[in-house]
Structure formats: structure tokens, C-alpha cells
């Protein structure tokens, strides 16, 4: 018998070694729950971005409106404003 056949035989006999079985269902479910609790879902990221965009848009609009009002008041003569309003 050549060494290659011996090697295959060695693997075959070694493959019959006893092997433990691990009962891991509880740990697996605990780990899944833990990872899910810290996992950011795509919809929550989208909701966060949308809320931030809405706040920025609101602030920008209010700011623009206020600055326009002030500049109009400065530009027009109060009597003209009286006529317009």
C-alpha cells in the first residue's frame, strides 16, 4: 500500500472519532434577539432622515419669510406700506 492510500485510510479511521453535540437553541435565540435590538432597520433610518429634512426645511422657510418681511419693511417707505396694506 502506498502512502497516499495510507493517508486516505488514516482519514477514514480518524473520521470515526466521537464528536460532541451542542444544544445551542437558547443561546442562538438570545444572540439573535440581542443583535436585533441594536440593529438599525432601513425604515427607521429613512424616518430619521425625513424628520431631520422636514425640520431643516421648516426652519429655512421661517427664516426666509422673516428676513423677507424685515427687508420689505426697510425697503418701502412706511406710507407706501400703509397704502399697500
Amino acid at each position: 500500500m502506498d502512502n497516499l492510500n495510507k493517508l486516505e485510510l488514516l482519514f477514514e479511521r480518524a473520521g470515526q472519532a466521537s464528536m460532541p453535540v451542542f444544544h445551542v437553541s437558547d443561546q442562538v435565540l438570545a444572540e439573535i434577539a440581542a443583535r436585533q435590538s441594536i440593529q438599525l432597520r432601513p425604515w427607521s433610518i429613512m424616518a430619521g432622515i425625513s424628520a431631520a429634512a422636514a425640520v431643516i426645511a421648516l426652519v429655512y422657510t421661517v427664516n426666509t419669510w422673516m428676513s423677507m418681511t424685515w427687508s420689505l419693511a426697510e425697503y418701502f417707505d412706511p406710507t407706501v406700506l400703509d397704502i399697500i396694506l
Binding site: F11, R13, A14, G15, A17, P20, V21, V24, A33, R35
Partner: protein, 186 residues
Amino acid sequence: MNQQDRQDIDKAQNGDHEAFRRLVECYEADISRLMWRFTQSEQVCEELVQEAFVEAYFSLGSYKHKAPFVFWLKTIATRVGYRLWKRQAKERRFVQIDYVADIEAPEQKDNSDDLNRIVNTLLEKLAPADRMVLTLLYFEKCSVKEIAEHMGWNQALVKTRAYRARRKLLGIANRMQIWDELEWIT
């Protein structure tokens, strides 16, 4: 795969943890046996089994019932084990130590546990990819096609790798003169 498994997979894909628990209990023996090929430490092996199932849970969406569930599960488990070997190989290269113990003759002839230890000592001297292909080929009795699917390699690469890995392992075995110790094996 039986009807119950199919139902449990569908439920687990929709986030049913109890259905996934039943799947874990059904396949933990198969996965434990496979992971034992990657380490001889019970603690590490248990962690690998857990990691394989956790990864499987988060990848369930990609399971389309095309292959048997156990085959799909073993593919994930194999990759988890392969990552461990690659990490260990990198660490060993980094610290530059001679990590492999000498081969000792088995205390008792035909003791499978001793022979398993000898084979693992030999396999540890190979690169992770070579070790992987021989482990799947000899221990798991996988075909070339199955190895290719598990590892994401093409079949030609598997054949080449298996041929070279066998040659390398024989070279190591000859250098370590293990055949004198294992003369009785013939």
C-alpha cells in the same frame, strides 16, 4: 426536507423565533459534527455552532428552497469555520511561533480519537484553503461539486487544490515520518 421543516423555514423567514428554534434543534447535531472538524476545543466549537445558526437566521431571506436546507446550512457553517482557520493562520503568521505539536503515536491502536488528533496535527500545517478542501473531501465525503458550492470556488479550482493539498500533506507526513508510527494501519 419534510413538510414541518418547510413550514418552519417559512415562519422563521417571517421572524418567528420559535420556528427557528425547532430548526436549530433539528440540525444542531449535523452542524456540531461539522464544526468539530474546525476545532478540537469544545468551547470554541460551541461558539462556532452558535455563530453558524445566528448567521443562518440573518441570511434566511436568501434561502429559496432550491437545495436541501441542511446543505444550505452547512454552506454557512463551513464558511464560519473557514473564517476561524483564516484568522488563526493570520495570528500564527503574525506572532511567528511554531504552533504545531509533534506527532505522537496513538496510545491504543485503532483509537479513532487519537487518529483524529494526528490527522488534525497534520492538517494544521496546511494553508486554510488546502485544509478546507481535504476536510470536506475526506471527512465530510463531499463531492467536488458540493465543495465548489460550499466554498464559492469553481470545480477546476477544487480539483487542483485537492491534488496539491494531498501532495503537500503527504510531504509533511513523510517528513514527520509518521508512517513508522502508523505501520499497523495497513
